[in-house]
Symmetry: C2
Subunit: 572 residues, 2 copies
């Protein structure tokens, strides 16, 4: 079965839980975006994803991308689907109207990309990179560069790449060696090798615009000597630029997306932004790019759940411990969904998908608030949310995508291990999300060291205060927030005795924050249900129970783990 | 890099920690097996695994098995390696001397198979099935069947399969439909279809002996109507029997092992054991088969650790939080093994491998005690250990193989996701171990419902008493045992209010038992180190710390999770 977006679930979260359409209308650019437009966009997006993109997923994995003498052929149907995708205006959904975009809220784009990833992760990699390139160029590009490239990138007519990694420079971008030599005409000559370039070469679009992290002559060593250059595959005069794909990687999964080794042979390019300020130019889009990876995680987990749930409602094996209503007089065995071991797997993944959606959609909303709200204090609060919550979502949603998809595979028993059911593809595809755009370990250090401890926990404390305001104390949410605050104080104190301590416990700390936020998200869902919607309550009841039974107990464990390590640091 | 067995580690565990050679000499068949013979077998096994089997692993995955008109070709080198393997006597290591075996202790076979699985899981599937078939035939075969097949299976000259699963009968073998119709000459005609048959067809050996779960005419429905038949591929007169491979599955991994769809078209066979007692005949080998899968898990995790550890000692990225001794004057970045996030991944996997080895080798020892000890009470105690600990090891070691190998992949960053480093193969290969020979959920129900609650926790209590006797209270081991006992009492009581309760919490309960046992195993390792071996202590210190920091905290979480659910059951 192919992935089928369920707009009703998402609409309930956006409207009843997050009140997003109303709150968005308070921002000037979205004053006219009414509930109906929201519903219409979601409906059309769901249709496009289900009808055009989802059916290509299996071929994307089994046939994959082919490399031949520098050219890359994407799997059958991908080019047509991509052409239909950009021509229908999907890449431009949230781009500014002055760049040819539709100027819609980021949260609609978030839902679109979650569904696309669920339906076909490999296909989605290509347009997924457009938004970062668009933001980067929009903020830092010269007016000349913008005139030539911005509209084509906004519309998606030309696809884009982010050329960061080199063989010796992965998490450590400060070691990048690709050179850019300024030319009298204002361009630069770019030379060097890049690896792991998603969509570095393909047949989806007529041109490819590479954003390349590079180093000018005599630039300082390390991250403060990096610049960013725009290098198109095809130059304005139609000539082929000196940028080439040397091979594509054989990977564990994500076969629908070509991961390219790229060579720049004195290719022609132009700097984006100030010399030696390349990392800053790229960080413009960091939160949005990481949110997109978190959304991939949510989408992949939802896709895995959908497959496993359907299988569990068809497959009969053994007797359930309590006679179920689904047992017919001639059934020698019960549906496996009636077995507690299967129920807890399925309900636990729903608890993650639903709660993480609330957090991710709320983050997308805050991205717009940070850009468009008239009040600077509100913009700052939004920036604080994005800065603190994004690494948490990136790490936690991708980890759950992999481990949860693996649990969903378990629902299929031996059938899960064979290709034909498609569930093992999701496990393989999901694995990369824990790595790219910063590994989960990098996210944890970003959260704890760069963001929480840097201001002694003040920013996180303020965020938790804001969330606690409209949360009932009975839900346990406020108690977890209080323990998180105390944990942060203890940790900050202990780190004075042992400067390596935060690096040892960063993963546990991030997990604790993730679970506290997930608990908050579910308290919002429960508040959104109200008391007069029994049908709706039935949909959300089992995952709410699973959250409390199987997910939240990890919170205490993580807190205890960090505290034990703090105790040891003080003793040493 | 290929897997490299490290006999010193294993020798330390067998001799200093488990005192296995001395204790084995108390059993009559092993009176002559001295330390030197142990060391010699381990040395030779390590050499064979490293030189002959490990180099074929990559091709096993990338080329895999090919199917063509009913014939299966195994990957390049597999047939020669298998021929060398059986001719060197490895399959017969622990088989009885009267069947042509070497009569060595099961623990040596355990180490051999752990190493083989680590080096090449796909290759190891074929001989891995011999031992169950040997035990089954030895205990239940007629003298005529034994005369024809036992020696060939003991030596491994002919390989064997276990034909259990059918499309509609996986975990639920009671639904098996394959028919066996008795013939006047004492044979049976076997007809039906089987799926997921590892090694159902291949070119490794000249004959293949299938053990087929089937149903006689008029047999009762369900598991009590199942019989077991031996069906050879080639009959005694050299004729091809009517058993055919219809296709092989495309799988997530384990490409070196053909997973066959088999068709029996009135094939000639002979019953093994009593009619309708087929499951009992198969259960003879259940503990030993499940222990083998646990050992696969340990081996795969060790292989993943070995790769990641080597990479972490070569790869430099970013500065470690504390200046490491390995930082040279010209190094712009530190070895990633100096980063706490990487250290904790590596040390945690070692904590699992080392502790699980103690438990698995001890289980192999107890298998021999249960067979050969003169004292019936001691044999019963051994049987209790095997019965209770085997499902725990099967579930916990395979889950850690998959999740721990995935963590090891994380050490490689993006490089881990591409084929060339071989780490992603381990993740894919390991995934099946959580499913076959009974899923982890089935193991958990087997432990809690069939074994622990069946006698009100008495057997487990006795086992814990025995272990606690020579364990220092200071290690926390005894405390965890006490909490486990209390948990079992609470659970038994609460289950009276809610008969489904054990099925909801079986997974958590199994994890709690696994962690309590792992803690005990490490207390034995620490005792074995003594005080006068500083070099040795350095090897075991970091994983011991990782166990306490990152592994054992889960024990409390699991206990709390079960208790919370018990509380709810009593309220309902």
């Amino acid at each position: 079965m192919n992935y089928q977006p369920l707009p009703d679930d998402v609409r309930f979260l956006l409207q009843a839980v997050l009140d997003a359409p109303n709150r968005l209308r308070a921002l000037a650019p979205f004053a006219e975006v009414d509930d109906e437009l929201h519903a219409q966009v979601l409906g059309e997006a769901g249709k496009f994803v289900a009808e055009v993109v989802a059916p290509l997923n299996r071929g994307g994995d089994e046939i994959g991308c082919r490399f031949d003498h520098g050219a890359v052929t994407t799997p059958p149907g991908f080019r047509d689907a991509y052409q239909a995708f950009w021509q229908a205006g999907w890449p431009a959904l949230s781009a500014a109207p002055e760049d040819g975009g539709q100027g819609l809220p980021a949260v609609l784009e978030a839902v679109l990309y979650e569904w696309l990833s669920a339906a076909n992760h490999g296909f989605t990699m290509a347009p997924g990179l457009l938004h970062g390139a668009y933001a980067c160029l929009e903020h830092h590009g010269s007016s000349e560069l913008k005139a030539r490239y911005l509209a084509k990138i906004a519309s998606g007519e030309w696809l884009a790449t982010m050329c960061l990694t080199e063989a010796h420079a992965g998490s450590d971008l400060g070691q990048v060696r690709t050179r850019a030599v300024p030319q009298p005409n204002g361009s630069v000559r770019v030379a060097g090798g890049k690896i792991f370039i998603s969509g570095g070469e393909h047949d989806l679009s007529d041109n490819i615009v590479h954003l390349v992290l590079c180093r000018l002559p005599n630039a300082p060593a390390g991250p403060k000597g990096l610049s960013l250059a725009l290098v198109p595959k095809i130059l304005a005069d139609g000539a082929r630029n000196a940028v080439h794909c040397e091979r594509i990687e054989e990977k564990m999964g994500l076969h629908g997306s070509p991961t390219c080794v790229m060579r720049f042979d004195d290719a022609t390019g132009w700097l984006i932004g100030e010399p030696n300020r390349g990392l800053a130019a790229m960080f413009v889009m960091m939160n949005s790019a990481r949110l997109h990876v978190a959304l991939q995680g949510i989408g992949l987990l939802d896709a895995a759940w959908q497959k496993a749930d359907a299988y569990a409602r068809e497959r009969r094996q053994m007797r359930a411990p309590i006679v179920p209503a689904t047992r017919g007089p001639n059934d020698a065995a019960d549906l496996i969904i009636e077995h507690p071991a299967i129920r807890r797997i399925l309900d636990t993944q729903r608890a993650w998908v639903d709660g993480a959606r609330v957090l991710a959609y709320h983050t997308a909303f805050e991205l717009d608030v940070a850009k468009h709200h008239p009040d600077v204090a509100r913009r700052d609060a939004a920036q604080r949310w994005c800065s603190l919550v994004t690494p948490v979502l990136k790490a936690a949603c991708t980890q759950q995508a992999f481990s949860g998809a693996s649990e969903c595979l378990q629902v299929f028993g031996g059938h899960g291990y064979v290709r034909e059911w498609g569930i093992e593809q999701i496990v393989r595809d999901a694995r990369i999300t824990m790595i790219y755009e910063g590994t989960k370990e990098i996210q944890a250090i970003d959260l704890l060291v760069r963001k929480v401890l840097a201001d002694g926990g003040a920013g996180l404390g303020t965020l938790l205060d804001e969330l606690a305001q409209d949360t009932s104390a009975a839900t346990g949410v406020v108690d977890r927030f209080e323990r998180l605050r105390e944990l942060t104080r203890t940790l900050a104190e202990a780190a004075r005795h042992d400067s390596a301590l935060p690096y040892w416990v960063a993963d546990d700390y991030l997990r604790a924050v993730a679970l506290a936020l997930l608990g908050w998200a579910w308290s919002r869902i429960e508040a959104g249900l109200g008391t007069d919607t029994p049908d709706l309550a039935a949909r959300w009841q089992a995952p709410a129970q699973a959250l409390h039974d199987w997910v939240l107990p990890e919170f205490n464990m993580r807190v205890q783990t960090v505290l034990a390590r703090c105790d040891r640091a003080r003793l040493v």
